[in-house]
Amino acid sequence: MKSVQAVAEGRGISRRDFLKLCTMMTGVLALPKSYSKYVEQALAAPARVPVIWLEFQDCAGCTESLLRATRPTVAELVLDILSVDYHETIMAASGNLAEEAKAATIKAGGYLLVVEGSIPTAENGIYCCVGGKTALQLLDEAVTNALAVVAVGNCASFGGLPKAKPNPTGAVSVLDLVKDKKPVLNMPGCPYNAVNLTATVVHFLTFGELPAMDSLHRPLFAFGARIHDNCERRGHFDAGEFVKAWGDEGAKKGWCLYQMGCKGPVTFHNCPAVQYNDGTSWPVKAGHGCIGCSEPDFWDFSAYNHADLQQFAPPATYAPVQPPTERISPASAGVIGAVAGVAVGAAGVAAIRALTKPDLEEAKEK
């Protein structure tokens, strides 16, 4: 068994570049920089984690996402460490041979169960059968000796497209079926972002456990902040500059897509930071609003209706309402009082003096 570092050396990658990878992974995991040494240790230690990758009601998009990790350095290396013993789309074997490989791995235990696609439950689950068994049965079997279950993609995490109204096959998510039998990590997205899976694996190798998760079992490092919070077009939202029609002036200037239905404000994902296809682009960058693909039941959001902005705390830059005041400023009052006092005092004194002293003699009146 070779460690990631050994495999890297074998591929001619310098130690310096390897350390850079470790730092990058630390970053994706939203860990402090000091943790990169732990990541390095883990990737330097020999380890091999067997994986069973099941696909149910899926489009194989998540597998495609995995395969799009074109940077040979990170994803391929890590995934070389994962011994993917069963993967219907990419494994070489087929038929009984494939099934036997899977059964052997399950029996041996200590594997990571990755599930792609939702599981239909209507009519005893006959809407998805592989090798004569329903998806329900297959999942049940595979969960028995798994270390943990990772549901990749929105379909496995929350039911995805098959679950969209009217859900004729009774599709449900992995968590709905596994419940608390095993630790379940959801990696939603349509497709999910391969970088996030890579980072999760690195976390697992480094710390021996799944990363911290939110209430929907999504890893916080990738799903802890909203698209809206890190979006490169947020400034335009704040300035009230919105695209109003496809291709208009605003669109050409890269303005906010909120009015075009962007669900960024209600979607938790790290797309603005890591982007897709190894940092090539992501929907908003390409000019279309976020459709909320990492959120449960996103297929039932109206794509072009406005997101409901909730939990909105107004920032301090707003001008306050100004009520009218009826008051005399102390400075004005002081000066006016002083001047008035002097004038009145002087006039008063002079008046009293003039009027109290004996008057002039009466002049002869005409």
Partner: protein
């Protein structure tokens, strides 16, 4: 003719060079204000669009009301003895309105278009400010006509202004009409500011109150002016005349006071005067100083005192000043912590122009005849 700066005969408290300096400074600063605008030269702002210039205007206009009050009493009521004070009152009016005219011109932001107020095609006859502008412009013409005979007396231009004295009824009558209009309109102007003016000063009776106040303030100015003119000529005080003017002023003050109190009572504002608050105290000060003290003098035997009506006038004018100060500045509420205090340029222009006016008055008194000939001859 004596030299321009000789002041031997003048006992008026005005010395030539200091007052001239102040006046010239004001002229220079005025030109500066016209060239650079209101922002750099004044402290007026969006929340205090009017400053002390308007306050001074609203004080000087009733003061200059001396002209119309004396014209009314002497020409239309026919009290002959008031002729004695006619010229001093008219000159006071003329100079007062001149200073007001300059200050108003300085105050309007778009002064190159000031003639728009005279363009009958576009004016708004329901705006009291327009009405005031028109009236004051016409009234300055009337006052100029009334002053010209004084200035051209015994000169080669005398024959050109004879018609004014012949047609004095029309001239004076027009002047009284215009004065009534704009003195009351100064008050009506504030009828639009019910929401901003403090209730102790705002009332629908503002036009009437302003008019009555112009009456007694004008009479008070007359007393002060004639007293100074007599002193300058070393003439004794005509106590009967002064007393009669004082009595007229007293009646006028009483009318004003009763309407003011009646209005306060009618609007239920008496409690505001009784609870301790800054505005209540100022109202007491204004009323006490400007109404009660003069009334006390004018309705007592002090009215017969040679200086009784004089001091009553001084205090009445102070009261008028406080009243106009409250209405144009201190009594107006604005939704802001911003306050206003005039800039030194505003203050110096005001002081300088008034000093200029006073200086011109003193020189007119020196060079021209403000008192009736037979009056001067007998003394």
């Amino acid at each position: 003719m004596a030299s321009l700066t000789q002041t031997k005969k003048s006992a008026l408290p005005i010395s030539f060079f200091p007052y001239l300096a102040l006046a010239l400074l004001a002229v220079g600063l005025s030109i500066y204000r016209l060239v650079v605008g209101l922002g750099p030269t004044t402290n007026m702002s969006d929340h205090y669009p009017w400053g002390i210039w308007i306050t001074i205007d609203l004080f000087l206009i009733p003061v200059a009301g001396a002209a119309f009050t004396i014209s009314l009493i002497s020409f239309f009521f026919g009290y002959e003895d008031y002729r004695t004070v006619l010229r001093p009152a008219v000159v006071a009016g003329f100079l007062g309105y001149s200073v007001v005219g300059i200050l108003l011109f300085l105050d309007i932001g778009r002064w190159p278009q000031f003639y728009n107020i005279l363009d009958l095609g576009i004016i708004n006859p329901h705006s009291f400010l327009e009405e005031i502008s028109l009236c004051v412009t016409l009234y300055v013409v009337i006052l100029t006509l009334e002053v010209l005979p004084i200035l051209f007396e015994h000169s080669k231009f005398e024959k050109y202004v004879k018609w004014i004295e012949t047609g004095i009824y029309f001239v004076a009558g027009a002047g009284i009409l215009l004065s009534t209009l704009h003195q009351s309109s100064l008050g009506s102007m504030f009828l639009l500011m019910r929401h901003k003016l403090h209730p102790l000063w705002y009332t629908p009776a503002l036009p009437l109150l302003f008019f009555l106040q112009a009456g007694y303030t004008g009479l008070g100015t007359t007393v002060i002016a004639i007293t100074l003119v007599w002193r300058s000529k070393s003439l004794p005080t005509n106590r009967l005349l002064i007393r009669r003017i004082g009595q007229a002023m007293g009646i006028n003050l009483l009318l004003y006071a009763s309407i003011r109190i009646g209005d306060w009572m009618g609007a239920g504002e008496i409690p505001m005067l009784l609870k301790p608050n800054a505005f209540g105290w100022i109202a007491w000060l204004e009323f006490g100083l400007g109404i009660l003290v003069p009334l006390a003098i004018l309705f007592s035997k002090l009215v017969r005192h040679s200086q009784g009506p004089l001091w009553a006038s001084v205090f009445a004018l102070m009261g008028t000043f406080i009243n106009r100060l409250m209405i144009t500045w201190v009594g107006l509420s604005e939704p802001s912590p911003v306050t206003y205090f005039p800039s030194w340029i505003e203050i110096m222009i005001t002081i300088g122009l008034i000093a200029g006016g006073a200086l011109v008055y003193e020189r007119i008194n020196y060079y021209f005849r403000l008192l009736p000939e037979k009056h001067e001859k007998h003394q």
